[in-house]
Amino acid sequence: MIHFVLLISRQGKVRLTKWYSAYPQKERTKVIREISGEVLARGPKLCNFVEWRGLKVVYRRYASLYFCMCINQGDNELEVLEIIHHYVETLDRYFGSVCELDLIFNFHKAYYILDELLLAGELQESSKKTVARLIAGQDALVETAKEEANSISSIIAQASK
C-alpha cells in the first residue's frame, strides 16, 4: 500500500502532499525534509528507489518536479512507477500538457484527481478516461453551484438577510 504521496520541486518546495497512513503534523514535516533530502540529492542516472526507514520511496522526475510515493518493502516498485506515470498522464490530459505552474495554481485540482486515482493507498482507477470523466462531472457540479452563488442577486439577498 502507498503510505504517502509527495510532489517536490527541484528547489525543494513541496507542491502536494497526501497521507494515507497516519502521520502526525510534526512527523509530516520531518518526513518531507528527510525524503526531499534523499531524493533531490540523487543524480539523474540512478535508480528510482530509495530505502527509507524500512520502507521504500519510489520517485520519478518529470521536468522540475519529483513525484514520490512511499510503499512497503514487499510492494512492486515498477507498479508504483507506473502509477506515478499514470497520474502524470491523467494530469496531462486534464490540464493539457501539464507544467509545474499548473499544479501550483491548481493545487486543489491535482488533489481531486489524485483522490480519484488512489483510495486508502491503493490504485482504484486505472483508466485515464474514466478519471477525466469523473473530474469533469464534479467540475460541472461546482460550476453550476458557483453560478448560483455568484449572481449578484443572491449575494444581495444574503447580505440583506
Binding site: 500500500m1 518546495k13 513541496v14 507542491r15 502536494l16 502532499t17 497521507w19 494515507y20 497516519a22 502526525p24 503534523q25 509530516r28 514535516t29 543524480g43 542516472k45 540512478l46 535508480c47 528510482n48 528507489f49 530509495v50 530505502e51 512497503n72 514487499g74 512492486n76 516498485e77 515498477l78 507498479e79 512507477l81 507506473e82 501550483i104 495554481f105 493545487f107 486543489h108 488533489y111 481531486y112 483522490d115 483510495l119 486508502a120 491503493e122 490504485l123 482504484q124 482507477e125 486505472s126 483508466s127 474514466t130 469523473l134 462531472g137 464534479q138 457540479l141 461546482v142 453551484a145 458557483k146 448560483e148 452563488a149 449575494i155 444581495i156 444574503q158 447580505a159 440583506s160 438577510k161
Partner: protein
C-alpha cells in the same frame, strides 16, 4: 453583521489569489503566511458558507504545503461538509480527511453527515464520503456506518462500488465485526465483471492477506481463477502477491500455481508483472526447480539491462534467491561484482549484500581481502557498510565461517586501520569475544594489540578509542603470550595515552597492573629455579649493563624519592602536577632508550628489566595518583601500592643482591596469588545464564522491597565526601603505608575470591566452561597471513572478478595447515531470546472473524465431503478447525445438501487446463444469471457441494483449489 459579511464575500481572496500573492510577496514567506492565517481566521467565522469554504480551502492549502496548523478549524470543516452545495462540501471533506485524526473531538458530529452522503443519490457525494471514511475512519465510525458500506458494496454504480470496496479495508481494520456483515459481498466482487471493482477487491485482499494469510486460504480457488483468466496487469500483480503469501502455507497450492505463474512470466511484456512473477517464484516457490531456473533467466535479463531500476530489482531478486540457490548468484557473479563500483549507492549496497551472501568458509579470506581494499577506496559511508557487513558475516553463528583465526584477527586489525572506520564498537566486541572464545587466537591477538597500542598516531583518532580499549584489555589478559611484556607496559603508559577518555584509560591502567604482576611473578619464579640450579648470574657482560642500568634506576629512584616529598601532606598547596608531567615525559623517554638496548631474551626476565619496568610504571603513575576520576585514582593507587610492597619486601631485587632471603618468600607467595587470580580464565557468559540459576530452596524473593528501608535505616550510605575529589591530596590515600595495606587487602580479597570462584565452579560446573590446564603455548607461532603483500595495488574490478571467480568456483575445501581452532560456544543459551512479535489484538479479531466466516463454509465442505465419500484424503484445513466448527457444520449439513442447484459449478472445479475455456464461458453465463437476492453463504455451500462431488469423482487430487 451584514455589511462585513458582504464585503468579505465580495473582496475575499480566493485560493488562487493566495497562491499568486505568495509568489509575489515581499515581506517574507512566514510573515505572509501568518498574515494570511489571520485573514482566514476572520473569514472562516463568516455565516456565509461560501466565504467559509474558501477560507477553509486556503487553510487546507497552507496546511498541506506550509505546515500551518489547522486542527482549530475542525468544526468549520464539519460545517462545510454539511453544505448542500457540492463545491463547499468537497472542500469540507478534503479538509477533514487531511486534518482529522483519532483524537479530533468533532468526529462525533460527522457520523450522520457521512451516513447521509453515503446514501445520497449523487454518486459524487457518496464518493466524497467514502474517500473521507477511508482516511479518517475510527472504530465508532466504522461500526456505525457498516450497514451503509454494505449497501454500497452491491451498488449498481461501478464508480461508487469500487470505492466502497476500498473502504472496507479501513472498516475491517477498525471494526473487525464488520467482516461478518460485508465479507460475503466482498467475495462476490471477486467475480465481478467490472475490472475496476475486481482490481479494488483484489487490492483489499492483498492487504488483508499480508496481515494474516492463513485466514484467506479457503479463497484460493477464486484467486486461482483470476490468476488464470485475468488480463489486467494491475490485478495480476496483486493476485501474485496474495499467492506469494498463501503458497508457503499449502504445498499443493504452490504446486498448482507454479505453472500459471511461469506462463505469465514467459508471456508478459510488462516488466512489472514479470518482476512480480520472479519475486513470487524466488520468494515463495523456491522448491520448484524449473520455475526457479526460469526466474533466474529472467533475473539475468534484468541485470543486463541498462536501466538502473531493473538492475537494482534484479540484484534484489537475486538476494532473495541466494540463500536457497546459491548457483543463481554464481551464474551472475560478474554483474554482481561489477555493480560494487556502480555509481548508484543503492545498487552498490544491494550488490554488497549479495557478495556477502556468496561468502563461504572457502572464499571468505579472498572476499574479505578484496572488500577491505574496496573499502579503502570508497566513500566513508559505503566503506562502513562494507566493514559492517564483513564483521557481521564473519561473526555470524560464533564465527562459523572463519577457519583461520590468525587471519581473522589480523583482518580486524586491518579494518581498524581503515581511514574511515567507524565500526570500532563492533571491532572492540569481536576482539574481546574472539579472545575469550578461541584459545588459539590469543597469541595473534596479543600481537595485534601490541601493534595497535605502540602506535601513538592511533591515539589521536577518537573513532579508534574503543578498539584501543579492547587491545589494552587483550594485552593485559593474555600477556603470557606476549613476546615482550615490557614493551606492552610502556605502550600502555605512554604520555599520549592521556588523550584517551577516562573510561578507556582505566582499562589501560588495569592492564598495566596485570602486566606488572605477570612480569614480577615470572621473574621471581624464574629466579627461584635459577637459585636452585645455578646461583651464578650467567653473563658477565649483561651484568655490567645491569649495574649501569640499575645505577640509572637508583638515581631515578632517588629523584623519585625527593619528588615524593612534595606529596607529603605538609606542602599540599604546591602546584606540582605540571612539573611532574614533564618529568614523566623525560623519564619515559629515557626509559625508552634504556629498554631498547636492554636485550630482551625470550622468556627471560632479567633483574634489571624488572627494576626498569617497576620504576617506569611508578614514574608514570605518580601524576595519575592525583587524578580527579575515582576509577583512575583507585587503580593507580593499586599499582603504586603494589610497587611499594615490591620495593620494601624485595630488597634483594632492588638492591642488587643475588640470593633471595627466606622472609621474602612471603611476598613471593603474595605475587603468585595475585598472578593466579589474574590468570583465571574469563569465558564468554551466556545471556541467559542468570535465568538458569535455580532459586535455592529456602530463598524467598520478595516482589516488594519496601522493608528494605527498615533494614537499611541504620546503615549509613557512604557519604560522597569520603570520595571527595576536591582534596586529592588526601593524606591517608597518599600515605604509602596505607596504600600498602590496601593493596595487601586487595590481594587477599582477590585470592579469596579466586578460591570462592573455584568452589563455585566446582559446585555449578554447568555454568562454566570446562577448565583446561593452562597449557603454555610456544611463542614461535606461525606468522599470520601477510595481507599487505602482493595486492596492494590491485584495484581493478577485473582482478576482483578473477579472484572471487577462482575462489567461488573452487568447490574443494581448502587445505589448512592446521585444523580449525575450537570456538567456545555455550549451546542454546547464547542465542538472543526471540521475542515473539505480539500481534495486534485488532488483527486477531479481524482474522478471527474472517475465519469464522470462511471456515464456517469450509466446515460444510468438509463434512459434506466426508459424508459424500468415504475415502477422502483429509482436508488440510481440518487441523485448523475446532470442534465448534464441526458441530456447526453438521447442523447445516442437511440444508446444504438441499441447496444444490447449479450443476455447472462442478465443472468450475476441474483442474485440467483444457477445461478452463469452458469454465470461462460458463462463468460469463453465470454472472448474467446471478440474481441479486442470492446470498453468499448459500453460494459457497453450493461450491462446497460441487467440490465434494468432484472429490468423489477424482479422489487422486483432493485439492481445495477445486
Amino acid at each position: 453583521m451584514a455589511g462585513p459579511s458582504m464585503m468579505e464575500t465580495l473582496f475575499q481572496r480566493t485560493l488562487e489569489d493566495l497562491i499568486k500573492g505568495m509568489r509575489l510577496q515581499l515581506i517574507g514567506e512566514s510573515a505572509f503566511i501568518s498574515k494570511a492565517v489571520e485573514e482566514i481566521r476572520r473569514e472562516i467565522k463568516s455565516t456565509d458558507l461560501h466565504t467559509k469554504s474558501i477560507a477553509l480551502q486556503k487553510l487546507t492549502y497552507l496546511n498541506s504545503l506550509h505546515d500551518v496548523d489547522m486542527s482549530w478549524a475542525a468544526f468549520h470543516a464539519v460545517e462545510c461538509m454539511s453544505s448542500s452545495r457540492f463545491a463547499d462540501k468537497r472542500i469540507g471533506y478534503v479538509a477533514a480527511s487531511q486534518s482529522f485524526n483519532e483524537s479530533t473531538p468533532v468526529l462525533l458530529l460527522i457520523t450522520n453527515q457521512l451516513r447521509k452522503d453515503l446514501t445520497s443519490v449523487n454518486e459524487h457525494e457518496a464518493s466524497l464520503a467514502l474517500e473521507c471514511l477511508a482516511k479518517i475512519g475510527t472504530v465508532d465510525l466504522a461500526r456505525d456506518l457498516t450497514p451503509e458500506v454494505f449497501t454500497l458494496l452491491s451498488s449498481s454504480k461501478v464508480f461508487v462500488r469500487k470505492k466502497s470496496i476500498g473502504v472496507t479495508m479501513r472498516v475491517f481494520e477498525k471494526y473487525p465485526d464488520a467482516v461478518r456483515v460485508c465479507f460475503k459481498r466482498l467475495v462476490e466482487n471477486l467475480e465481478s465483471s467490472d475490472p475496476q471493482s475486481l482490481s479494488a477487491t483484489v487490492g483489499v485482499f492483498c492487504e488483508l492477506a499480508a496481515k494474516d494469510p492463513l485466514s484467506y486460504l479457503p479463497l484460493a480457488p477464486e484467486f486461482y481463477r483470476i490468476l488464470v483468466d485475468s488480463k489486467n496487469n494491475w490485478v495480476l500483480i496483486k493476485v501474485l502477491k496474495i499467492f506469494a503469501r498463501l503458497a508457503p502455507l499449502e504445498p499443493r497450492l504452490a504446486k498448482k500455481v507454479t505453472e500459471p505463474i511461469c506462463e505469465h512470466m514467459r508471456r508478459t511484456g510488462a516488466k512489472s508483472l514479470m518482476f512480480e512473477c520472479v519475486r513470487t517464484v524466488v520468494g515463495s516457490l523456491s522448491e520448484y526447480e524449473s520455475a526457479v531456473k526460469l526466474a533466474v533467466v529472467k533475473i539475468r535479463e534484468l541485470l543486463l539491462e541498462d536501466d538502473p531500476n531493473l538492475k537494482y530489482l534484479g540484484l534484489h531478486a537475486l538476494s532473495i534467491v541466494a540463500p536457497k540457490h546459491s548457483w543463481a548468484v554464481l551464474e551472475n557473479k560478474e554483474v554482481v561484482i561489477k555493480s560494487l563500483s556502480d555509481e548508484d549507492a543503492n545498487i552498490k549496497l544491494e550488490s554488497l549484500r549479495l557478495v556477502m551472501a556468496m561468502v563461504s568458509e572457502s572464499n571468505i579470506i579472498e572476499i574479505s581481502r578484496v572488500l577491505v581494499h574496496y573499502a579503502l577506496k570508497s566513500d566513508p559511508e559505503f566503506c562502513n557498510e562494507i566493514l559492517g557487513s564483513i564483521l557481521s558475516t564473519c561473526s555470524r553463528n560464533f564465527y562459523e565461517i572463519v577457519m583461520d583465526f590468525d587471519w581473522y584477527v589480523s583482518l580486524l586489525g586491518e579494518m581498524s586501520r581503515t581511514p574511515h572506520c567507524q565500526k570500532s564498537e563492533e571491532i572492540e566486541f569481536q576482539l574481546i569475544d574472539v579472545g575469550m572464545r578461541v584459545r588459539d587466537a590469543r597469541p595473534e591477538l596479543v600481537r595485534l594489540a601490541r601493534s595497535l597500542l605502540i602506535d601513538p598516531a592511533l591515539l589521536g583518532n577518537p573513532f579508534l578509542h574503543r578498539i584501543l580499549s579492547a587491545a589494552a584489555w587483550v594485552s593485559g589478559e593474555y600477556v603470557e603470550f606476549s613476546l615482550n611484556p615490557f614493551e606492552l607496559a610502556e605502550a600502555l603508559i605512554q604520555p599520549r595515552a592521556s588523550l584517551l577518555p577516562t573510561s578507556i584509560r582505566v582499562v589501560y591502567l588495569q592492564s598495566v597492573f596485570k602486566i606488572l604482576i605477570f612480569c614480577v611473578n615470572s621473574y621471581l619464579s624464574q629466579t627461584e629455579t635459577l637459585a636452585d640450579l645455578e646461583p651464578e648470574v650467567p653473563d658477565s657482560i649483561s651484568q655490567r649493563e645491569n649495574s649501569e642500568a640499575s645505577d640509572l634506576a637508583s638515581v631515578r629512584a632517588l629523584f623519585e624519592r625527593e619528588h615524593d616529598e612534595a606529596f607529603n601532606p605538609g606542602v599540599l598547596d604546591r602546584p606540582s602536577t605540571d612539573n611532574s608531567i614533564e618529568d614523566i615525559g623525560n623519564a619515559a623517554d629515557g626509559d625508552g632508550q634504556t629498554s631498547t638496548f636492554v636485550s630482551f631474551r625470550k622468556n627471560g626476565f632479567t633483574r634489571e628489566s624488572i627494576v626498569n619496568l617497576v620504576n617506569l610504571v611508578e614514574v608514570a603513575m605518580r601524576p595519575l595518583s592525583v587524578s580527579l576520576e575515582v576509577e583512575m585514582l583507585e587503580r593507580t593507587c593499586n599499582i603504586l601500592g603494589l610497587i611499594e610492597v615490591l620495593k620494601r619486601e624485595l630488597p634483594a631485587v632492588f638492591q642488587n643482591e643475588k640470593v633471595l632471603e627466606k622472609e621474602e618468600l612471603e611476598v613471593l607467595k603474595l605475587i603468585k596469588l595475585m598472578n593466579d587470580a589474574f590468570s583465571e580464565e574469563l569465558g564468554p557468559v551466556s545471556t541467559s545464564a542468570q535465568e538458569r540459576v535455580p532459586i535455592p530452596d529456602g530463598l524467598v524473593l520478595k516482589d516488594n522491597l519496601a522493608d528494605l528501608d527498615e533494614v537499611m535505616g541504620d546503615v549509613k550510605l557512604p557519604s560522597s565526601s569520603s570520595f571527595s575529589l576536591e582534596s586529592p591530596y588526601n593524606g591517608q590515600r597518599m600515605d604509602p603505608a596505607s596504600c600498602n595495606v590496601q593493596s595487601k587487602e586487595d590481594s587477599e580479597a582477590s585470592s579469596e575470591s579466586t578460591s570462592l570462584l573455584a568452589e563455585h565452579r566446582k559446585r555449578h560446573g554447568l555454568y562454566y566452561l570446562p577448565s583446561e590446564g593452562n597449557g603454555t603455548i610456544s611463542n614461535d607461532y606461525p606468522p599470520a597471513n601477510d595481507l599487505k603483500s602482493g595486492d596492494t595495488n590491485q584495484d581493478d574490478t577485473e582482478d576482483f572478478v578473477k579472484l572471487t571467480a577462482q575462489s567461488l568456483v573452487s568447490k574443494k575445501k581448502p587445505n589448512y595447515a592446521k585444523p580449525r581452532p575450537v570456538v567456545v560456544k555455550l549451546d542454546e543459551g547464547e542465542s538472543v531470546p526471540v521475542v515473539l512479535k505480539k500481534r495486534d489484538s485488532r488483527d486477531d479479531l479481524l482474522s478471527g472473524a474472517v475465519r469464522d466466516i470462511l471456515l464456517g463454509d469450509d466446515a460444510v465442505k468438509l463434512s459434506s465431503s466426508i459424508k459424500g465419500k468415504e475415502k477422502v484424503n483429509a482436508d488440510p484445513l481440518d487441523s485448523k478447525e475446532n470442534m465448534h466448527d464441526m458441530e456447526n457444520s453438521s447442523h447445516r449439513k442437511s440444508s446444504s445438501r438441499r441447496s444444490k442447484q447449479r450443476p455447472h459449478r462442478k465443472e468450475r472445479g476441474q483442474t485440467n487446463p483444457e477445461k478452463l475455456g469452458v469454465e470461462k464461458e460458463e462463468h460469463g453465463g453465470k454472472v448474467k444469471s446471478k440474481s441479486s437476492h442470492r446470498h453468499g453463504r448459500q453460494k459457497s455451500r453450493q461450491k462446497a457441494e460441487g467440490s465434494s462431488d468432484i472429490i468423489a469423482e477424482t479422489p487422486v487430487i483432493p485439492d481445495f483449489l477445486l
